[in-house]
């Protein structure tokens, strides 16, 4: 598998605190990679560095052969990197359809106005929001707003989609629906990096997981392997959960 995204020695400091310290890993084309870690591990900071919201202090980030570390967000989006925000950031005065259509006008998609709405309907269908396309954002529930985040990012036609805790705050039924959505998006040929807190999600959809802890890569491997790793258990999961998981 060739690497679509390659992160090498990325460091990001805020004052004296290194939120990311020499983080390195690759994401293969067509993969779903999970990035997990306790609060403050640097997961969102990493995502911000890849999407251009932050400029890393050191290290290189390569996407599809282009060096993107320190590039502005719009240029990275244009290359085909889409992302969602943990705290959703919809275009509040617009309908769901308009939100997705704006995505289709920009990014790697760059559709003409006349075709943007058809593309918006397509991605809303994919995330399961076809019936709510004409609703204004104000009347969408939180799970729907999270779906809309994904739809807007998808509308830009990304090759790589960075999902920042799209399952956080959802109830078990909603998590299942969201998992199905992630699988559907993945089947459509999009490589996914999934930042998550909810263990079930990572185990359910990822073949490979990277564990961050205090800004460093603690472990990397299959979900089962990583979850058996003593350091990971100590840092993050707590022995009880791991024992149950391994035993079950």
């Amino acid at each position: 598998m060739t690497a679509l995204l390659s992160i090498q020695g990325v460091t990001k400091r805020f004052g004296g605190v290194a939120a990311l310290n020499e983080v390195s890993f690759d994401v293969g084309e067509g993969e779903i990679l999970g990035v997990i870690g306790p609060n403050g591990a640097g997961k969102t900071t990493l995502l911000n560095c890849v999407s251009g919201v932050y400029r890393p202090d050191a290290g290189s980030i390569t996407f599809d052969g282009h060096s993107i570390a320190g590039e502005p967000p719009h240029r990275i989006a244009r290359l085909g990197v889409g992302r969602t925000f943990q705290v959703v950031k919809p275009f509040a005065s617009m309908t769901a359809r308009e939100n997705a259509a704006v995505g289709a006008l920009f990014g790697a998609s760059q559709l003409a106005l006349s075709r943007a709405f058809a593309a918006a309907d397509e991605v809303l269908e994919m995330v399961g929001m076809a019936g709510k396309a004409s609703l204004p954002v104000a009347s969408l529930t939180i799970p729907d707003r999270k779906r809309l985040e994904v739809a807007r990012a998808l509308a830009t036609r990304p090759r790589l989609l960075l999902l920042d805790e799209v399952m956080a705050g959802l109830n078990p039924v909603e998590v299942d629906e969201a998992l199905e959505m992630v699988r559907t998006v993945h089947r459509s040929g999009v490589t996914i990096v999934l930042i998550e807190h909810v263990m079930r999600v990572v185990v359910g959809v990822c073949r490979r997981v990277v564990v961050l802890h205090f800004g460093q890569t603690l472990a990397e491997g299959t979900p089962d392997g990583v979850l058996r790793d003593a350091r990971v258990i100590e840092a993050y999961l707590g022995e009880k959960y791991a024992r149950r998981l391994v035993g079950g």
């Binding site: 919201v53 992302r83 204004p136 990012a153």
Partner: protein, 358 residues
């Protein structure tokens, strides 16, 4: 509504948007009104010319009304231009009068016999360019600020530019500049200013219906999200600022030639600065015709009330009240009021009457 009826699902209520139809009808009505108004504005003054006078045609407007109409058109340009940045992009500029002043001085310097001594057409062509270049230059740092900081910084910039202009001898210093007086030119300037107003509306319309316009709205709604979906936020913001500056500068240039006099107080008038914002907000910031309506309504009020000494005080109070009421109850302006976007709107009232079965 009877109690036996099942509660409607939230979706059906929300999907139904009777507003859409109203909005379309409203737009048609607005276009019709504007066309009628434009025809009247363009033809009525012809009855005030000497030729019409000698033919004995009835005079539909007197000369002072031509002046008022020209001023209204000037504010249509400025309010529409402000709307591109303040309404569409969500950056409330309190310094757009700087562009007006720069355009005015550009024209005045260009036609001055002791300075550039260019023909009037060349001066008018230059008037948008200088403010646009200035906006692009100061926009790069200013548009990194948001909210109150942006408002204060733009206001400070406008005041500073005015002070600099006042202290440069080449620009006439505190005395100002005196472009040559053109005799019997009030009709010419009315048509030029109306032309500028039509241009401002046309440019706004083109922007609203383009990728550029959607990018600006995305910036207003959430700048960080706009960036990561691929909007070049810096370029878009500076671009909108420069277009607004060009239009405002054109109005300023025409004003300087029309008025045959420009100084710092006229060119960088804080009254103009506030008025163009009020007009856009009153009419409906972010809409195409809102600023146009706001400019017409407010400027006619100001000209007909505030100018008369007997009611001037009450007019001031009235304008203040009007603004307060607008901001509190119809924050999206007159257009939203008739389009159903407000709690106090006509369409909302009709809808709630229908729903409660009255």
């Amino acid at each position: 509504m009877s109690a036996a009826m099942p509660p409607p699902s939230s979706e059906t209520i929300l999907v139904e948007r009777p507003r859409l139809l109203d909005r379309r009808r409203l737009r048609r009505l607005l276009v019709l009104l504007l066309v009628l108004g434009a025809v009247l504005v363009l033809l009525a003054p012809l009855t005030a010319t000497d030729q019409a006078d000698s033919l004995g045609a009835p005079q539909l407007v007197d000369r002072s009304q031509i002046r008022i109409l020209t001023t209204v058109a000037m504010f249509v340009v400025m309010a529409s231009a402000w709307n591109l940045v303040g309404g569409l992009t969500g950056y409330s500029s309190f310094g757009n009068v700087a562009f007006f002043g720069l355009g005015a001085y550009t024209c005045a310097v260009a036609v001055d016999a002791h300075r550039l001594h260019l023909p009037m057409a060349a001066a008018i062509a230059l008037a948008p360019l200088v403010p646009a270049a200035f906006a692009a230059l100061v926009g790069l740092p200013l548009l990194r600020l948001r909210g109150h900081y942006f408002a204060i910084a733009t206001l400070g910039t406008a005041v500073a530019v005015g002070e600099v202009v006042k202290n440069v001898d080449y620009l006439g210093g505190a005395t100002g500049l005196f472009p040559p007086i053109l005799h019997r030119a009030d009709l010419l300037f009315l048509y030029l200013m109306v032309g500028a107003a039509l241009l401002a509306v046309l440019v706004s319309r083109l922007i609203l219906r383009s990728r550029f316009g959607y990018g600006l709205i995305a910036i207003r709604e959430n700048e960080e999200a706009a960036g990561v979906i691929g909007v070049n936020t810096t370029m878009y913001k500076v671009g909108a600022f420069a277009v607004a500056a060009a239009l405002t500068g054109l109005a300023g240039g025409l004003f300087a030639l029309w008025n045959s006099f420009i100084n710092q107080e006229l060119g960088f008038s804080l009254d103009f600065n506030i008025q163009m914002i009020l007009m856009a907000v009153l009419g409906g910031a972010g809409t195409l015709f809102g600023p146009v309506l706001g400019a017409i309504v407010l400027e006619l009020l100001i000209q007909n009330l505030a100018g008369r000494s007997d009611v001037a005080v009450y007019a001031q109070i009235g304008l203040g009240l009007l603004l307060a009421v607008t901001v509190i109850f119809v924050p999206r302006g007159i257009v939203a009021f008739f389009g159903g976007g407000s709690r106090l709107s006509v369409a909302h009232l009709r809808r709630s009457l229908r729903e409660t079965g009255v």
